[in-house]
Amino acid sequence: MPHDSDDMFEADNATRAGRGPIDHPTMLSSCARAATAAEARYRVNYPNSRTRTSRIVALDATAAEAMFRITEDPWNNAHFLALSSAGDVDPAKTAAPDLPLSHPDGAAADLGVELDGADLVVLIAGEGRSAGAAEVIARECFGRNIMCAGLVLAEGKSEAALDRVVNSIRAFTRVLVVARDGDYVPAMLTALRA
């Protein structure tokens, strides 16, 4: 029976489209019973995911300031990295290990090492002056099949300034979020189990 036939809707609750009358009673596993709150307590209780490996990269000073506010929070396996050079880099001349990254304590970080086994990279941008660095990171993520997301901090910016920031990383991310509220950084990372 075609699915868009009106005949389908003439079936009452005791028949199934195309199969005639139900030849068995409603089973305990049917949708009605399975969707009750009472049944929810029988859901198998176990950790259904392994710890994720997330790398959060602040691309400029504004982003680093927002990021450093939360690095001491209890994260799962997230590493927080900041671009430590004042100017942008030339992506054509910069390999992953040469990208000037640092940990929150100031120790140098190697992008290649940091991306080993990573599931997710989040680029945080607040100023729009690091398109070159974003390209280097995105290139490395692409080569390793790592999801690269972007988070633009919009708080206090004019439309034009915001557009500059967005345009600086748009091409390098599979998901781009423009957040007016700095609190979104921990909210997003928590939701993603970073």
């Binding site: 075609p2 699915h3 868009d4 009106d6 389908m8 809707f9 079936a11 609750n13 199934r16 489209a17 195309g18 199969r19 409603t26 049917s30 949708c31 009605a32 399975a34 969707a35 009750t36 709150a37 049944e39 929810a40 859901r43 259904n48 995911s49 997710l120 989040v122 999801m147 997301a149 919009a154 557009d163 967005v166 345009n167 748009r170 991310t173 599979r174 998901v175 781009l176 979020v177 423009v178 957040a179 007016r180 509220d181 609190d183 979104y184 909210a187 997003m188 928590t190 939701a191 993603l192 189990r193």
Partner: protein
């Protein structure tokens, strides 16, 4: 993943809860206008935000929405007699007007004024478009009347339906801002549904199942952009607006009418899924209107005499595994609305979000939850009224368009995403 206490904050909407108070800051759809079709028609039971109410239309065409139960002995006024300017309890004859004021207590001397001491809690009920809207919050914070485009275009250009969905409002609403499921769950319908098929944009949807997402905050909520590959390096953009707390629109396809939803809590384990279709510049054709009434597009068929979908959890949504195998439906459930509802109801009455594993493409959902939480807390802690109440926030549209790769939807589609009377929707 959401912490348990935040999940509870967002999903509980009874009076006195933070999210319940937030919903009470808005005009929300309460009934279809056709549920009260004429003066002195039968009253209708309504449950909203965990409150049992009765709606009626009096002899002068005034709409009333008030506590369902008579103040005398607690009888349901669904049994009431709607007559001569009020709703009369059939037990002892107490009568109430459309404001909930008791106007007759036959057993007491009329001169005693006793009835003036009796008043049922009542909310305003106004008709705009096909919908009767109510505001269940304090009168002093009543927002301007709603100006949603679907409710303000001429009657021949719009159609609204509602269906009972048996799960919490938030998991239903989150389906409305989850653009990435369309290429999977609704892939069959894109080819066959008369209100979707034939659009050029459908091909882009089918060809590129890994869209790139852009989530941008707006004054009233969010714009969620999904970008897929089009010809010559261009991008096909589909933009879904979400306006707080629970209005969403589906990006349009071709010249088909535009559609969208409201997700309104009945109680914490049930909600109304309101679905509308409208065309900004032309009347719906008889065929389109018939298709909507027949359950196509975002609408559904009903158990006769109810707003319960004909496909429901008691009949396993008329699951058809053979149609699934034939490729006619992706999940085996017929119809876009019930494809969504069946999966959302399967999560249970209120999903335990502490166990979910969101990914970065879920950022629309993450951001919506974040904004709802912030707005709830601001209202609760500082009395700040939430976004989405202002008419300017409500003048939105979804849109679909092909753009060059260097153009951002936020700038390039600014006008497309604004409701403009008499201007056709932007669609592909």
């Amino acid at each position: 993943m959401l912490k348990k206490e935040i999940n509870e904050l967002l999903t509980q909407t009874d009076a006195g809860t933070p999210m319940g108070e937030m919903f009470r800051q808005y005009w929300i759809p309460a009934l279809l206008a056709r549920e009260l079709p004429e003066d002195d028609c039968p009253p209708v039971r309504v449950k909203l935000l965990g409150e049992r109410l009765i709606a009626f239309r009096d002899s002068k065409g005034r709409y009333g929405l008030m506590d369902e139960f008579c103040a005398h002995r607690g009888v349901s006024l669904w049994f009431g007699r709607n007559e001569e300017g009020g709703l009369r309890c059939p037990y002892h004859g107490w009568k109430y007007d459309y404001t909930g004021q008791c106007i007759e207590v036959p057993s007491e001397p009329e001169e005693s004024g006793f009835c003036e001491k009796i008043k049922l809690r009542a909310y305003p009920l106004i008709k705009i478009g096909d919908v009767l809207w109510t505001h269940m919050g304090d009168k002093e914070n009543r927002p301007p009347e709603p100006v949603w485009e679907f409710a303000t275009v001429p009657a021949e250009q719009t159609y609204t339906s509602k269906r009972w969905q048996e799960c919490n409002w938030l998991q239903a609403m989150e389906g409305g801002i989850d653009s990435s499921h369309v290429s999977f769950l609704h892939s069959g319908a894109l080819k066959t549904d008369p209100l979707f098929k034939g659009a050029k944009g459908n091909q882009y949807n089918q060809q590129d199942k890994k869209p790139v997402f852009e989530v941008v905050e707006s004054d009233g909520g969010l714009h969620i952009g999904a970008r897929r590959m089009a010809e010559e390096g261009h991008y096909y953009w589909r933009i879904t607006p979400w306006i707080m707390p629970s209005f969403t629109m589906v990006p349009p396809r071709g010249d088909h009418p535009m559609h969208g939803h409201f997700w309104i809590p009945i109680d914490d384990e049930n909600c109304w899924a309101w679905s509308f279709d409208y065309h900004p510049v032309r009347a719906l054709t008889p065929e389109e209107r018939q298709a909507m009434m027949d359950g196509y597009g975002v609408h559904n068929k009903y158990v006769p005499g109810t707003f319960r979908p004909l496909q429901n959890k008691d009949n396993d949504y008329l699951m058809d595994r053979e149609a699934q195998k034939r490729g006619e439906t992706y999940s085996g459930v017929w119809g876009i609305a019930m494809q969504d509802a069946s999966l959302q109801e399967s999560m249970g009455p209120i999903i335990d979000r502490t166990k979910e594993n969101l990914v970065s493409t879920d950022n629309g959902i993450i951001m919506a939850r974040h904004r709802l939480r912030k707005a709830c807390e601001a209202l609760r802690d500082k009395g700040v009224l939430p976004p989405g109440r202002e008419p300017e926030h409500q003048k939105v549209r979804s849109a679909a368009r092909v753009l060059p790769p260097d153009e951002a939807f936020k700038e390039a589609m600014k006008e497309d995403l604004t409701a403009r009377p008499g201007v056709k929707q932007t669609s592909v």
